[in-house]
């Protein structure tokens, strides 16, 4: 068991209303799992992912990563995010002033690795993701699919235990979308990399080992 989320709740209080986004959401992730989460827009999928990724704090409930209880505000949170977790967002969030390779090496530099070593590793992963010709391109010189694959490479470079992806293909046309999905499935199969992917695409979600639907603040297993 690499991640275990227990009875998470999250409520947003606006000026005129309170929105109970998560009521009793639990999820277990094991090595090599390929998990998808679907659900209506606004039902709290991103919120769930952010909490599990230590980017946001739940109102109540517990989160364990590798058996240890963790919290987004705890001192070790940045280190856990750097070492054990990877992120891919709907919008790529690459740094515009850095080339593809330079974007990918950031997590390794933060972890304290040498730049030259990180560059070699980054090129390896970018090549694996079919971007061998694009090492020194800046984000604005890459297509949407390519940008998303660079984000994926960045999420993978520190060999995290889990990669969280929040609608990684939400901004892409069907061709590019499929390309990124293939990549994720391959990485899961060949490297035994665990993924938790939030998506609107029900068909794609069904390709995962386990598929959950977030309804009414709870995660319901649909498949697996």
């Amino acid at each position: 068991m690499i991640l275990s989320a227990r009875h998470l709740t999250k409520t947003y209080i606006d000026s005129d209303q309170t929105i109970e986004v998560l009521k009793d959401a639990s999820l277990d992730v094991q090595t090599g799992n390929m998990i998808s989460i679907t659900g209506k827009s606004g039902c709290g999928k991103s919120t769930m992912l952010h909490i599990m990724g230590l980017l946001d704090a739940p109102d109540s409930g517990e989160l364990y990563i590798c058996g240890e209880r963790v919290h987004s505000e705890s001192k070790s949170a940045p280190m856990i995010r750097n070492r054990d977790l990877g992120f891919v967002f709907q919008f790529h969030y690459l740094i515009e002033d850095l080339t593809a390779v330079e974007n990918v090496i950031l997590p390794m530099l933060i972890a304290g690795n040498q730049e030259s070593h990180a560059r070699l590793k980054a090129k390896e992963i970018l090549a694996l993701l079919g971007l061998a010709e694009r090492f020194n391109r800046y984000p604005n010189q890459l297509s949407g699919g390519e940008q998303q694959r660079v984000s994926l490479a960045r999420a993978l470079i520190n060999q995290p235990k889990i990669v969280f992806a929040d609608e990684p293909t939400g901004n892409l046309d069907p061709v590019h979308s499929n390309e990124v999905w293939e990549m994720i499935m391959n990485l899961n199969r060949e490297l035994n990399q665990a993924f938790v992917v939030v998506t609107h695409d029900v068909e794609a979600a069904n390709r995962a080992h386990k598929s959950y639907e977030l309804i009414d603040g709870r995660l319901n297993l649909k498949k697996g």
């Binding site: 750097n82 992120f87 530099l109």
Partner: protein, 404 residues
Amino acid sequence: MERLERFFLKRYIEAPKRNLFRFSFVFMVLGIMLSVGILSAGLHLFQGYESTLRKLLLDSFSHIGISSAYGEMISEAQYEEIISYTDAFPEIESTIPMLGFPLMAQKNDKIRAASLKAYPDMADPPFAKYISLGKKNISEGEVIVGHYLMQELNLAIGDTLNLNYPRLDQITPLGIPSTRSDFRIAGVYRSGYYENDRSMVVVTMANARELMMQPDGYSKIELQLEDPGRAAQLNHRISAILGPDFISIPWNYHAESLLRLVAMEKWLIFIVFSFLVLIAGINVISTVSTIIIDQKAEIAVLKTLGASRRTIHRMLVYRVGMVGVLSVFAGQVLGALLSWFVEHQSFYRLKGDVYFIDTLGAKITLPNLAIIFAVATALIFICIMIPLRQIDRMQIIEVIRNKH
């Protein structure tokens, strides 16, 4: 330094155009340059003023002056006695007797108070280096006159000047008797020290004795030292040897308080001008805030990837700090240029009667450059730190949710 910091620092240095500079830096750089430039010029000019004044005070006055304790003349025999004492001090460069007294200088209907001086050895007089026109060693019937006294009396070299010594000690009911005599102007004295330049009159010792009706004796014995800084200490020892018949006064007895006042004014100017740098610092604060807002997506990404708060702080500090330090250097260059310009311009001169000297000279010293640099960079770094708290308050999650 962490790898990430080093990575970004390297990029700033290697490709500053792409990575370091932003348009929002322009006003910050200009503000720092101008304020540091003005601060530097102010300090350099005041330093120049201070050291010119010190040098002139040292050169135009005796370092230690010995006179009679009873207001009498010093006789030849007493002078010999004093010499025998001062010869024992290797620190004393010269012991020169001088006859000096106040008198009136008159040309037609214009009369000015003046101060006459005469030295026995006219071949190499102590004031020689300040003769700006005419000759240094005058002969009988010739006079050297201070530059401003010449101006006030409308005189030129070759003109005659009447010197008039009122015998205040011999006032009778009929009036004050006086000795007077005409002299031909042979030289102009100009030291830059205003007080001397508007009162100095030099004649030969023989002429001075005639005017004063004083067949022998001196009014003062002037000692010049190798190191004027030790005048007070040396004076202490000399006056002990001389005994109660003589008074000896070191140059700094009068000048030190003036120099201290000037030095204090210098640091006052420095503090006032440092506030300009602080005002430029407001630009720094807004520049850093702008960067934080502009780059909040990047900052959020780095935080998401696990960069620590300190690392992100430091990256910003390096970035703005490097530009700030470069601007301070540029400001110091600007300050040197400014003071050079003030030194070489000709439309403003100091008023000698207010400032003691009439020329403005800048002096750039290493300690002053270091102090300016230290104060300016310290102020700028404080201003860089102030907005960094914005980063800590920034919620990564808000940024990530709200892109586009």
